[in-house]
């Protein structure tokens, strides 16, 4: 399925609508960059009294990442959503500033904080996203890799279990070391599974939704339709059992239940999912000691024995203290003591931000996340093809679930898991993977919002189809005609029609009023 050239689409499909100038995005981007760069400067000023090392270079890199993406979007995805990119740059900039602040604190347990590496991965992530948007003209092209994506996802999930390359850090075996580089393959597996579920469910949603017995008013699916889904469910359980990674397991499972629900609109799936999850959680907490320990830390963090135990509740209690120290308006950049919390720059960056920006700042950050997720779900509603709907919906949901799991873990709403806060926490894999997610969302939203010659149900096509007859197959110029844009189904060949015609009516073809300029395509 090839896409239409931009220029052509603008000429034939949208005679009345201009390409958006993306001024709103540029304006928001400037605000977002101002937030990030001001934070860099304030951090340096508070800690050393002058601008931090390489301030201009760092600011330039961040601005280049954001503005570069903006230019790519202008050229290649002019109708893409205008709020997603600025929100991402906003979060990324603030996250980098916090990592820089912790690096500059010089505390012994903050040696892992490295703003440079974070910045490099941001630039790399933006570059990968730009390349993806530049070359991926239509998200439906990915659909042909449905089963490849499943395979890639499964391989990525089991990769850390291999003896030489896999590595266990802090009790979770989710790392892969290759030639001096380390990465968390689960972050990428998340994207692969979203692609797989979208492709698989869009092809099978009818059998999943309609076939099967009805039990107590709930439409249950048939066992044989569940094969590939059970494989992935088993993989997500395997992650929990063999890699000791509660968060990733929860993420995959949530993604899978949410996408089933999106595809089938059957509430029974949500119920089945919650029941399976509940059963799994209870079983896991009684069988596995590490899960039980997490639960214990969650329920009784202020227990003195637990607080002093290695791997106990010290971290989460310190995180809670940090949030309390921040209060309503925070201590200000560089004025708090967020370095007291272990892993304040990665797993606990949320509590660090809470300490220095306060609840007011945290709410702004959460709203920025909400904007990204909202735009993703909105894209899923707007896009016309089922694959795009499921892909955008699934990616947006998995991001929301990840944020909920991290923030919920730190604020002790749910047990703590080892997930990272997208775009903020230090970690190359997480940054790279989430930039790819953003690239996919932007691509789908471009296709969704691109003006189409086909009228949307119950509305009037661009160009006022209500008053002008739609002449199909006419040479350009008439509103409502033209090359099919993405979102139009591939037309059936003319052969199907000429072969047999309605028996009670003339069999000759009635030619359109205007000469057809594209032979071989039927109206």
């Amino acid at each position: 399925m090839s896409t239409v050239e931009d220029s052509q689409a603008a000429r034939t499909v949208a005679p009345t609508e201009r390409r958006p100038a993306r001024v709103a995005e540029l304006f928001l981007l400037v605000l977002a960059l101002a937030a990030g760069i001001t934070a860099f400067a304030t951090v340096g000023n508070a800690l050393t009294g002058e601008l931090p090392e390489d301030f201009w270079l760092k600011s330039f890199l961040l601005a280049a990442a954001g503005l570069g993406m903006h230019v790519v979007l202008r050229l290649r995805a002019p109708w893409a959503d205008q709020v997603i990119l600025p929100s991402v740059v906003f979060l990324n900039g603030i996250g980098l500033a916090m990592i820089l602040r912790l690096e500059m604190s010089g505390a012994s347990n903050m040696r892992g904080a490295n703003a440079w590496s974070g910045l490099m991965y941001t630039a790399l992530g933006a570059a990968v996203a730009a390349v993806l948007i530049w070359f991926l003209r239509d998200h439906r092209w990915i659909r042909r890799f449905t089963y490849t994506a499943m395979l890639v996802g499964l391989v990525l999930v089991v990769l850390p279990l291999f003896p030489v390359i896999g590595q266990e850090i802090n009790g979770a075996r989710i790392w892969v070391h290759l030639g001096g580089m380390s990465m968390q393959p689960a972050e990428f597996a998340k994207i692969a599974f979203a692609v797989f579920f979208a492709g698989y469910l869009v092809a099978n949603r009818d059998t999943l939704a309609l076939a099967g017995p009805k039990v107590m008013g709930l439409q249950l699916p048939r066992i044989r339709d569940l094969g590939p889904i059970l494989i992935v469910w088993a993989a997500s359980l395997g992650v929990l059992i063999f890699e000791h990674d509660l968060g990733t397991s929860l993420l995959f499972f949530g993604l899978f239940v949410a996408m089933l629900y999106l595809a089938t609109e059957r509430f029974s799936w949500v119920l089945i999912g919650l029941l399976l999850f509940g059963a799994g959680a209870i079983a896991a907490s009684s069988i596995f000691t590490h899960v039980a320990a997490r639960m214990e830390v969650w329920l009784h963090p202020f227990d003195a024995a637990l607080y002093n135990a290695p791997g106990g509740s010290f971290q989460i209690v310190q995180g809670t203290f940090a949030l309390a120290a921040g209060g309503m308006f925070g201590t200000g950049w560089g004025e708090g003591e967020p370095y007291r919390v272990p892993f304040a720059y990665s797993d606990f960056i949320y509590s660090s931000l809470g300490e220095e920006l306060g609840l007011t700042g945290l709410l702004a950050i959460l709203l920025a996340y909400l904007l990204i997720v909202h735009r993703g779900l909105r894209t899923a509603i707007a896009v016309r093809d089922g694959f795009g709907k499921l892909l955008a919906g699934g990616l947006a949901f998995v991001m929301a679930l990840q944020i909920f799991t991290v923030v919920g873990g730190i604020t002790r709403i749910i047990p703590l898991t080892g997930l990272t806060l997208p775009f903020m926490a230090q970690g190359g894999s997480s940054l790279l993977a989430n930039w790819i997610v953003i690239a996919l969302l932007l691509r789908v939203s471009d296709i969704a919002r691109r003006p189409s010659s086909l009228p949307v149900r119950g509305t009037v096509a661009a160009g006022g189809a209500m008053h002008d007859p739609i002449v199909v197959g006419a040479a350009g110029g008439t509103p409502g005609t033209g090359t099919p844009v993405a979102g139009t189904p591939v037309r059936r060949s003319a052969g199907e029609v000429t072969g047999a015609a309605p028996s009670s009516h003339p069999t000759e073809m009635i030619t359109p009023a205007q000469p057809d300029t594209r032979p071989g395509e039927r109206s």
Partner: protein, 164 residues
């Protein structure tokens, strides 16, 4: 740095964060308008309200449903037999394309096959240059012609009619 400047800077930064978030939400408010609705530009609205050449009343004007006026469109033959569609003041596009109001699963109909639309108190049917044509009885529909309730319109293998 004095305490006051410091506090002002600290709060100023939070204000900057919220300015970003609120501006982004303001940008989104444009999106709340339903898709395809006129963007509020004056030329759009004028075109919407302008009377169609050859018709006395504007089709967009919400006319009170008269007694005996058709209220629904029913598929009386073909793969979608039994499907009904409530009539409003909007025109109904019939064809195989997913963007149509009535999407036919009929190999003999075109992507955008025919249009049934109200003008004044009367409903009209119009062929949109379909491959196999639109018929009332055995007469092909060439231009927009009035459509009375109960009269079957042949579109591909399907027949639709207006019912009161």
């Amino acid at each position: 740095m004095s305490e006051l400047t410091f506090t002002l800077l600290r709060l100023g930064y939070l204000v900057l964060l919220w300015v970003f978030v609120l501006t982004a939400i303001a940008v989104l408010r444009r999106d709340l308008a339903p898709r395809g609705a006129p963007r509020g530009t004056r030329s759009d609205r004028r075109r919407e309200a302008a009377p169609t050449p050859g018709a006395a009343a504007s089709p967009a004007a919400p006319a009170k449903p008269k007694r005996g006026a058709p209220t629904r469109l029913v598929v009386t033959a073909g793969p979608l037999l039994g499907t009904t569609l409530p009539l409003s003041t909007a025109s109904i596009l019939i064809g195989r394309a997913p963007g149509c109001t009535l999407v036919l699963d009929d190999d003999y109909s075109s992507s955008r096959h025919a249009r049934i639309f109200p003008q004044g108190d009367q409903w009209f049917v119009e062929d949109l240059g379909s491959t196999n044509g639109t018929f009332i009885g055995d007469t092909p529909v060439t231009g927009p012609i009035p459509l009375a309730p109960g009269v079957g319109v042949q579109i591909g293998r399907s027949v639709v009619e207006l019912q009161g």
